[in-house]
């Protein structure tokens, strides 16, 4: 961390409050999220994007290469655009074809490497990749908007601004694979590199470059240039399903690191003793942008839209505090924070992100703590009494679940044989529960705790007698030192909504405009309002962008 001394801060919010699924499912991106962090780095490095190869035909098919220097290394995005039939266009893992495929390459690929990638990338999971391939991705067109934009440009006019505002992207990525998948490079290859050391930085660089390719593609097909403010508002979409959810369970130390960073940032800004007039002006200006962003955020799902409507009303009530005496007293940021506590969970999480945003100098250094090379370890020498104390202190939410009730273990997570697509089933109505994925953490820990109650001896003896509880014991030990490492809800309960897990992770990526399609599937927008490739010299300022103003 850059900070030499820990700035004054409040006590962090309690994990028992922060790590509840419904609150995680109300998360908003912050300036500490991965994509904003990357774009600040690109700005600081005065990075330049070039397009050394553009071999796209009149119909929009072919390949292109984009290169960028970052931290003393050159990275290249190889983009491959392919014709597919409408019947093949699905955002799900079971897809076999995509409108476009991508590889982020370590260096500048020569002709042979470009040819190899052009052959392999469209096959995605069915192909093998090499050590210089850092990220593998694919994206499908948002067909209606893509077609509209091309047609408008061909007709010599700009596309309809309302349609750009409502969709917000030309293509949706449907997977962004990093860290060794299908033979691509292990994360270890880039973990120590400047600019790519943070979590998902290579993936974020990939999607930001893909966004630029989608802009170039419609301009190529339309034979005209998009207005800059329209182009800036075209981010890159993403469709995300259950595949993303288990990550938060299987990477507890990363989850803890991300949450610790965000919560520390909030605790620091709450302790700011007073505000300069410039800071007050910044907060007021930012509040107006949030109002417009919320106004732009429209989704088809009626329940989700109703929640957005409630948030708009609450926000409009909250920002009155920016004009009253609240900012004139001591610790004005904390006063604003306290004022939000009477609102919904969604308002509280939005206000947390809002209050962090203007204070980069105070919080940005924390992002260097977001990655960890460690994995949870078993500690066999730990006294059993310490485990029992930890169970009572940290796991009451799991121990209280009645797993004899069918609703409290109604669902089971599994991996389908069909292209290994992650799915969720109903335990009492569908086959396959005997092969469920181990996301039943609460049930595992409760079973371990009950067995431990009967154990008379040390932990080594317990582990030897009950190897089936080794994983649960490790989770309990991990949570002692990493208090934000665990989602404190029963993930097999009938009421568990995986989309809450997706939103939490996506918010850490920097995603916004959450557009849930079901309780286990969502679309989002990334990089909307973010600098374009030729705007990296501008200081990034695009959190919660509003149409036409970012």
């Amino acid at each position: 961390m850059k900070d030499l001394a820990e700035p004054r801060r409040f006590v962090l919010r309690a994990p028992a409050q922060v790590m509840r699924l419904r609150r995680m499912g109300a998360a908003f991106p912050t300036r500490l999220s991965f994509l904003p962090t990357l774009l600040r780095r690109l700005h600081d490095d005065a990075a330049q994007v070039t397009r050394p190869v553009w071999r796209i035909d009149k119909a929009g098919y072919g390949h292109a290469v984009y290169s960028i220097d970052l931290g003393g290394h050159t990275y290249s995005l190889v983009a491959v655009s392919t014709r597919i039939s409408d019947a093949q266009r699905t955002d799900r893992v079971i897809a076999q074809e995509w409108d476009s495929a991508y590889v982020l390459y370590d260096g500048i690929p020569d002709a042979a490497e470009i040819a190899r990638i052009c052959q392999a990338a469209p096959k995605q999971e069915a192909a093998r990749f090499g050590e210089r391939d850092l990220v593998l991705s694919r994206a499908n067109k948002s067909v209606r908007l893509f077609t509209h934009v091309v047609q408008a440009l061909r007709a010599g006019r700009q596309p309809d601004a309302d349609r750009i505002r409502d969709t917000g992207y030309l293509m949706r990525t449907t997977a962004v694979y990093g860290n060794g998948k299908f033979g691509i490079a292990d994360r270890a290859r880039i973990a120590d590199r400047p600019g790519l050391g943070g979590p998902f930085m290579a993936e974020m660089l990939t999607v930001w470059l893909i966004r630029g390719f989608t802009h170039d593609l419609v301009e190529h097909l339309g034979g005209a240039t998009l207005d800059r403010h329209l182009k800036r508002h075209l981010g890159i979409g993403n469709a995300t399903g259950l595949g993303m959810a288990p990550f938060l369970v299987s990477h507890p130390l990363l989850l803890d690191a991300w949450m610790q960073v965000r919560e520390t940032a909030l605790a620091r800004v709450r302790a700011i003793p007073d505000l300069t007039s410039a800071e007050v002006a910044c907060l007021r200006s930012l509040a107006g942008r949030v109002t417009r962003h919320l106004g732009d955020w429209r989704v088809p799902d009626a329940d989700a839209q109703a929640e957005i409507g409630l948030l708009r009303r609450e926000w409009s009530g909250f920002i009155r505090h920016l004009g009253d005496v609240t900012l004139q007293g001591p610790e004005p940021i904390n006063a604003l924070w306290e004022a939000a506590q009477t609102g919904s969970v969604a308002l509280q999480e939005l206000v947390a992100a809002f209050l962090i945003e203007p204070f980069g100098a105070l919080v940005d250094g924390l992002t260097e703590c977001m990655a960890t090379p460690f994995l949870p370890r078993i500690e066999p020498e730990m006294p059993v009494a310490e485990i029992r104390v930890a169970l009572m202190r940290d796991w009451g939410w799991a121990l209280a679940v009645d797993f004899d009730r069918t609703d409290q273990q109604a669902q089971f997570w599994y991996v389908s044989q069909a292209k290994l697509e992650p799915r969720l089933g109903l335990r009492h109505h569908e086959p396959g529960a005997e092969r469920e994925s181990p996301l039943d953490v609460a049930r595992q820990v409760q079973a371990m705790a009950r067995t431990l109650e009967q154990h008379d001896g040390d932990l080594i003896g317990f582990l030897r007698a009950h190897p089936e509880h080794r994983a649960a014991l490790r989770r309990v030990q991990t949570l002692i030192r990493h208090p934000y490492a665990e989602i404190r809800d029963n993930l097999i309960d009938a009421d568990c909504r995986p989309v809450d897990m997706l939103r939490c992770k996506l918010a850490f990526f920097g995603a916004a405009k959450f557009d849930p399609k079901s309780d286990r599937w969502t679309r989002i927008t990334l990089a909307q309002g973010a600098p374009l490739a030729d705007e990296l010299d501008r200081t990034p300022d695009w959190w919660m962008p509003a149409f036409g103003t970012a």
């Binding site: 266009r89 067909v143 033979g183 270890a188 389908s416 599937w521």
Partner: protein
Amino acid sequence: MKRSRAELAAQLMKAARGAGLPLGVAEDLYAAAGFLDPEDVARIAADLAQGGAELVALMHALDAVECGQGSSLTSSLAPALAAARGWRLEAGRKAEGAVPVLSHRIEIPDDRWAELDAHAARTYVPDTAASRAQGAGAGQIDND
């Protein structure tokens, strides 16, 4: 075929689960992927084929060593599994000092990978029309 370390980790975890080993032991194998050589993987595959008793016993033996208890550790896998715990195994005892993770790819014969695949496949649920339609929570065509 050469495999990435992340591929090996995921494969060992799934194979161990599929072979019926405790989840915690599967997680230990996942963590060890960065310290294994091809012979180690062959030994793991052979033990999984026999039910995984050696692997489970090895984890228990390493637990004992970590607590300063003597334990006979004759398995050639022991140093790698100790390294995954963040320490070195020297003369059957725990020695401080992390072992560097091996970041280079690892050559795994295809038939051995297939053996592991066969175990891993026991963690997959057969596809049905109902699960295909409803399990992912999404439709099957996205032309909007």
